[in-house]
């Protein structure tokens, strides 16, 4: 079996999300060092706030301010921080019930080791120096040696938390949540063999043992019969244009002048058309049935484009099944 190919695959996406009224108030509040919760009809205060009561599904929106201090309800010690996590030194994941809230917020706690954290411990928010209106405006929590849950000020008792309008200047109405995931992509046995052969300028398909069709590029299975394809068959190099389109829009980062022709090409011996660019002929003279052959560039792992062979056009009947 030839070597199975592998290559790094990086997936990055900056998800841009809009915020509803409750999330907008909460995240803008964090920017202003104010923590807001939302009050349910039965008097519970949810922090972080949501737009619908998780129990009754009733729409809620009465905002109240809670304290920046709170109590750890559970924790877990993470000795190996991973990319993207709030601290790059070992830390505790914590659920913190802020004073004035009835539910807990997930974040991290900056302490030297697991012996420095326990459920029930008192903590307070350490604000990020630069705040944009995101959950990461809370840099982390840190130990707080103030007394137990304070009930002496209006803003910390669950029943006395101060109502807040949720209005600030320059409300944050959206967030951009960047994400990156790293993969090592492997195309599997059949496609590795196909790509490996291409590096020798050969095109290899696989024949279905049941219907005898030859698939190019092979994916290891016959989509008609649902069985593994295994017999390798060399196809081409010449082929027939089965259908095509004329591209008039220049793609970003693509060094090809428009208009150009993008075609489906049935290589001789193949029962599935693959696609490629047609050149070496004016774009308006490409046609179904045109006979073409691949043109390779030095060092490339696949044909750069296909050009006319000069043969007479193929009869429609010879390729109509491949349209």
């Amino acid at each position: 079996m030839p070597e199975v190919l592998q290559a790094p695959l990086v997936l990055e996406f900056p998800f841009t999300r809009s915020l509803g009224p409750v999330q907008s108030a909460f995240l803008t509040g964090l920017r202003e060092r104010v923590v807001l919760g939302v009050r349910t009809r039965d008097g519970r205060t949810l922090v972080p706030p949501v737009e619908y009561d998780p129990v009754t599904a009733e729409e809620i929106g009465e905002l109240v301010e809670v304290a920046a201090t709170g109590t750890v309800t559970t924790w877990a010690w993470n000795h190996e921080p991973r990319r993207g996590q709030p601290l790059d030194t070992p830390f505790a994941w914590v659920l913190v019930r802020l004073d004035g809230a009835d539910t807990a917020l997930l974040h991290v706690l900056d302490v030297p080791g697991p012996d420095s954290v326990h459920s029930g411990m008192r903590v307070r928010i350490r604000w990020a120096g630069e705040r944009t209106g995101a959950i990461t405006d809370i840099a982390c929590f840190e130990p707080y040696d103030g007394a137990g849950e304070r009930q002496d000020t209006g803003r910390t008792g669950a029943t006395e938390a101060a109502v807040h309008s949720g209005e600030f200047e320059n409300m944050v109405t959206g967030i951009v949540a960047p994400a990156r995931l790293d993969y090592t992509y492997s195309p599997g046995r059949a496609q590795s063999a196909y790509i490996g052969a291409l590096s020798e300028r050969r095109t290899v398909g696989e024949r279905c043992p049941s219907c005898r069709k030859v698939y190019v590029p092979p994916r290891g299975a016959c989509p008609t019969c649902g069985v593994a394809t295994s017999e390798q068959v060399e196809v081409g190099p010449r082929g027939t244009v089965t259908t095509y389109c004329i591209v008039n829009i220049k793609a970003k980062n693509l060094d090809i002048e428009v208009p150009y022709v993008y075609a489906h090409i049935a290589l001789d011996g193949a029962d599935l058309a693959l696609h490629g660019r047609i050149a070496g002929i004016p774009y308006d003279r490409v046609r179904m049935g045109l006979r073409v052959e691949p043109v390779w560039k030095e060092g490339a792992r696949h044909p750069d484009h296909y050009r006319p062979t000069g043969e007479p056009d193929a009869e429609y009947d010879t390729y109509k099944e491949l349209l």
Binding site: M1, V4, Q6, L9, R17, L19, Q23, L27, L46, V47, P48, V50, P54, V55, T74, W75, A76, W77, N78, H79, R82, R83, G84, Q85, P86, W93, L95, R97, T103, A104, L105, L106, V108, P114, S119, I135, T136, A177, A179, L181, D182, Y183, T184, Y185, S186, P187, G188, R189, A190, Q191, R219, G220, A221, C222, P223, T224, C225, G226, V227, A228
Partner: protein, 349 residues
């Protein structure tokens, strides 16, 4: 109208740390052939096909469409897909059979965790506003739940270690399992969970065939009848939930009829030892019930297939005559957020 619907065949791959030499469809196809061969059915005999998988594991959009090559989707078939564990695909297929529009269904699911880092990948299913930007991985979230159980006096670290040890010992009889026999409890992954409390990361696939009524009896000597199946979800906010309990699993079990009579076997999808503790309590499973004789997810946890495998293992026990009434459970999301429970029975002997 009530139709009797049964699991009549089950197959799974050997679950392995990596299967880089195989594409998804190459990994999946043998188990599809196995369940078809078991029943003697051809692709053309299958009325409905439903699959479960995740593009995030593959890192490629619409990755499941390529897996369809393994099914034989031409001429056109009736097909659906859930971006979830195959147990939920089975639920969809079950409802399709209930309507009478189909008599047979093929359900399959697969997951290759080896190309990426599944701990990081799973963070992308979390609340994108308040949680995902912190990148809390699945092990860390499970560890928060474990600590809550320990603080609540429900369990302790030695008891958790015993869950992992029992699972891998039982998996000694399961040739498909990834971890079998004596496995070191290991260092802390995220305290209080050690590596032995966590599932292996691996690749694998599974498939089952469902059939209704007399069709099921003709395809299988002892069909595993689905007496009830239900799935429930809890609030996504972790700090809203009582992590030491699983009201959604309990409600799903109640609606599936699990509490009407005792079960002899339970296949629980508990990727972490601490989650088995939660589920045993929520599902009222006492020591008379064989829990995860297959070794469960602590022995093999192909993401997106591990839940379907629980239903398949429970059914296979009934097919073999080792079980008469079994509970199968699947979960999805952080800290047992979503739970599916099925109750399976064999004909009286």
């Amino acid at each position: 109208m009530t139709r009797e619907i049964a699991v009549v065949a089950f197959a799974q791959t050997d679950h392995r740390r990596t299967s880089a030499e195989l594409s998804e469809v190459e990994m999946l196809m043998p188990v599809l052939h196995e369940v078809l061969d078991e029943t003697g059915l051809k692709t053309a005999d299958i009325d409905f096909t439903c699959s479960g998988s995740s593009d995030y594991l593959a890192g490629r959009a619409f990755s499941f469409t390529l897996a369809l090559d393994g099914v034989g989707a031409w001429p056109p078939i009736s097909e659906s897909h859930v971006e979830m564990d195959g147990a939920w695909a089975l639920y969809e297929a079950w409802t399709k059979l209930l309507t009478g529009e189909a008599d047979t269904a093929l359900v399959y699911s697969y997951g290759k965790s080896s190309p990426g880092s599944v701990r990081d990948v799973l963070t992308r299913q979390l609340d994108p506003y308040y949680v995902a930007p912190l990148w809390p991985d699945a092990v860390s979230l499970a560890a928060l739940q474990a600590q809550a159980l320990i603080d609540g006096g429900v369990t302790d670290e030695p008891a958790l270690a015993a869950v992992g040890a029992r699972s891998r010992s039982d998996a000694g009889a399961n040739s498909h399992a990834q971890l079998r026999g004596s496995v070191p409890q290991g260092e802390y992954a995220v305290r209080p969970l050690r590596t032995g409390d966590c599932p292996p990361v691996g690749d694998g696939a599974a498939a089952v065939i469902l059939a209704a009524g007399e069709r099921a009896r003709s395809l299988c000597a002892r069909p595993a009848w689905i007496r009830g199946i239900d799935h429930r979800i809890e609030a996504h906010g972790l700090g809203v939930r009582d992590l030491t309990d699983s009201p959604s699993a309990r409600l799903a079990a109640e609606r599936a009829g699990a509490f009407e009579r005792p079960v002899d076997t339970a296949e629980l999808h508990a990727p972490f030892s601490s989650q088995e503790v939660v589920l045993r309590r929520a599902l009222r499973l006492d020591d008379s019930v064989r829990v995860n004789p297959s070794g469960g997810a602590l022995a093999a946890n192909p993401v997106m297939a591990a839940g379907l495998i629980r239903i398949g293992e429970a059914a296979a026990g009934i097919h073999r005559g080792e079980s008469d009434r079994a509970l199968a459970h699947a979960t999805s999301g952080p800290c047992l957020q979503q739970n599916l429970v099925a109750v399976l029975e064999g004909d009286p002997r």
